[in-house]
């Protein structure tokens, strides 16, 4: 059993090793900070992409137009029926009456005189009532459109899905491409971070290899040699992650005014504010795990005898 007295000594040895060789510690922490910064930045990139995708997807919807003679109650009952069935493909259904449709049109086209004149010529409200549907995923729109065609074909006048199909499909392709690219970039960045950290910690440990030989010679068990090194790795990870988090926050803070000027009032700092704790958690966890595992793996070869 690993006695508590040994545990305290292991921590002390780890701290001593971390503290004594300041240049080596500085070099290791610098490299680890950069890699953890990369991990944090990748997380922000991922969040940014995800939020943008969510925003874009919110803008996509389709409208199912009903025949002019279909009563409001009938359409609303369809709405309630679908809402009660809790269909997983449908996120939100809104009823848009003829009057609301006209109002919206007028609002949108208020600057276009031709449209206003055209409306006056028609005389009566030319807009049918509709159900505006937002899907849980943009890939479901085709299915939803087919569903209305099959189930309510006799009362459905038309839908704007076919008209918007190419636009939706184009947006979907772009979103998928963006998500895949971000995913692969994240994996590549993460692998780079692992390799760089492992190599840095390995070099650090290599410089102490003579000490491990001495420790073994005086009868130190492998665990007693290993644990201070792992403790040292954890300390590297902890200090580096705190530095990386600080750098990331400062970077976002510094970018904020520039982004507001160039990206139409983009509030970068506010945008990421809600994700700061998650980012800090990820970076600290990654730092500690990378430091500990790199040290653990790197020291093993010196303890094989």
């Amino acid at each position: 059993m690993f006695k508590s007295i040994k545990f305290v000594r292991v921590l002390r040895e780890g701290w001593l090793s971390f503290y004594r060789d300041k240049w080596l510690t500085f070099a290791t922490i610098s490299v680890m900070t950069l890699t953890l910064f990369l991990i944090g930045a990748t997380f922000f990139l991922w969040i940014g992409v995800q939020k943008t995708v969510d925003e874009v997807e919110k803008q996509i919807n389709i409208s199912i137009y009903f025949d002019f003679d279909v009563k409001e109650d009938k359409i609303k009952s369809i709405k309630y029926h679908l809402e009660n069935k809790k269909i997983k493909e449908i996120k939100k259904i809104s009823y848009v009456s003829k009057e609301e449709a006209l109002k919206q049109f007028k609002e949108e086209e208020k600057d276009d005189e031709n449209m206003t004149k055209a409306l006056e010529i028609v005389g009566e409200n030319p807009f049918p009532a509709s159900l505006e549907i937002i899907a849980t995923d943009s890939s479901y729109y085709e299915k939803i459109d087919s569903f209305f065609e099959q189930e309510y074909g006799d009362i459905v006048l038309s839908s704007n899905y076919k008209k918007n199909k190419n636009v939706i499909s184009d947006i979907r392709n772009r979103i998928a491409f963006l998500q895949k690219t971000t995913f692969f970039l994240s994996i590549i960045f993460f692998l780079i971070a692992i390799l760089v950290t492992f190599n840095t910690v390995s070099i650090n440990i290599y410089s102490h290899k003579r000490e491990f030989e001495i420790m073994r010679l005086v009868g130190a068990s492998n665990l007693y040699v290993k644990m201070p090194v792992v403790t040292e790795g954890v300390l590297y990870g902890l200090v580096s992650s705190v530095t990386a988090i600080t750098l990331l926050i400062v970077t976002v803070y510094v970018i904020d005014p520039f982004a507001q000027k160039t990206l139409e009032n983009a509030q970068v700092f506010d945008f990421y504010k809600g994700s700061m704790f998650m980012m800090a958690f990820i970076v600290i966890t990654a730092g500690i795990l990378l430091g500990a595992f790199s040290s653990y793996i790197a020291i093993r070869k010196y303890l094989e005898k």
Binding site: K3, I5, K6, R9, L16, S17, R20, D21, R210, E211, E213, I214, M215, R216, L217, V218, G219, A220, S221, N222, Y224, K305
Partner: protein
């Protein structure tokens, strides 16, 4: 009482590099054995095999009744605690003071702080390093570093002290001091295996001398002298 026994022990690296062959050697508890021979004769390899830092290619080594090849890797550190080791270079941890270096050998075995505070100064006094206890290895002379290494090797009261060319880097005065210390330790009951090619040291000790050459034992005298001529 037989403490260490080597039976037909050989060590080679591939077929070309045969370091030792058919070594049969028995060392009793409390003995002082000088293993002598020219550089590259295989003295250090022989010592390393005894404290299980190297494995023999052939033959068996026994410590007491135990065949050391049966010791599991995990428990090797416990086996090594039967030995104290001193080398040509003192092998001190540069970031620890002389006191901390000596204490470290006790720490790894789980000794309490009280025991460390009591025993380390005592041993440092025996090897004449009381005034140097707070200094770092780079602040003391070669002879002092070597005596610190000796204190570290002895602090946990090992059954065997293995000294591999401990006087190799020392001036004549320090060499003589070291030799006297080794004899004193042996008088107190610790078995000592000394590897050296220093004629003066071996002849001053005037105890058992095992001469190694061409990978085998050339002679083994109970009270021997050694001459390189």
């Amino acid at each position: 009482m037989k403490l260490i026994e080597l039976r037909n022990v050989g060590k080679s690296y591939g077929e070309e590099f045969v370091i030792l062959k058919n070594i049969n050697l028995s060392i009793d508890a409390g003995e002082f054995v000088s293993i002598v021979g020219a550089s590259g004769a295989g003295k250090s390899t022989l010592l390393k095999m005894i404290y299980a830092d190297e494995e023999p290619t052939s033959g068996k080594i026994f410590f007491g009744e135990r065949d050391i090849s049966t010791i599991k890797k995990k428990t090797l550190p416990f086996y090594r605690r039967n030995f104290g080791t001193v080398f040509q270079d003192a092998k001190l941890l540069s970031y620890k003071t002389i006191f901390e270096n000596v204490a470290y050998a006790l720490e790894v075995q789980g000794a309490g702080d009280e025991q460390i505070k009591k025993e380390v100064p005592k041993l440092l006094e025996i090897v004449g390093l009381s005034k140097q206890s707070d200094k770092y290895p780079n602040q003391v002379s070669g002879g002092e570093a070597q005596r610190a290494s000796l204190a570290r090797a002895l602090i946990h009261r090992p059954r065997v002290l293995i000294a591999d060319e401990p006087t190799g880097n020392l001036d004549p005065v320090s060499t003589w001091e070291m030799t006297k210390l080794l004899l004193k330790i042996n008088d107190l009951g610790t078995t000592i295996i000394l590897a050296t090619h220093d004629e003066a040291v071996v002849n001053n000790i005037y105890k058992r001398v095992v001469v190694i050459g061409n990978g085998t034992i050339l002679s083994d005298n109970k009270r021997g002298k050694y001459s390189t001529e």
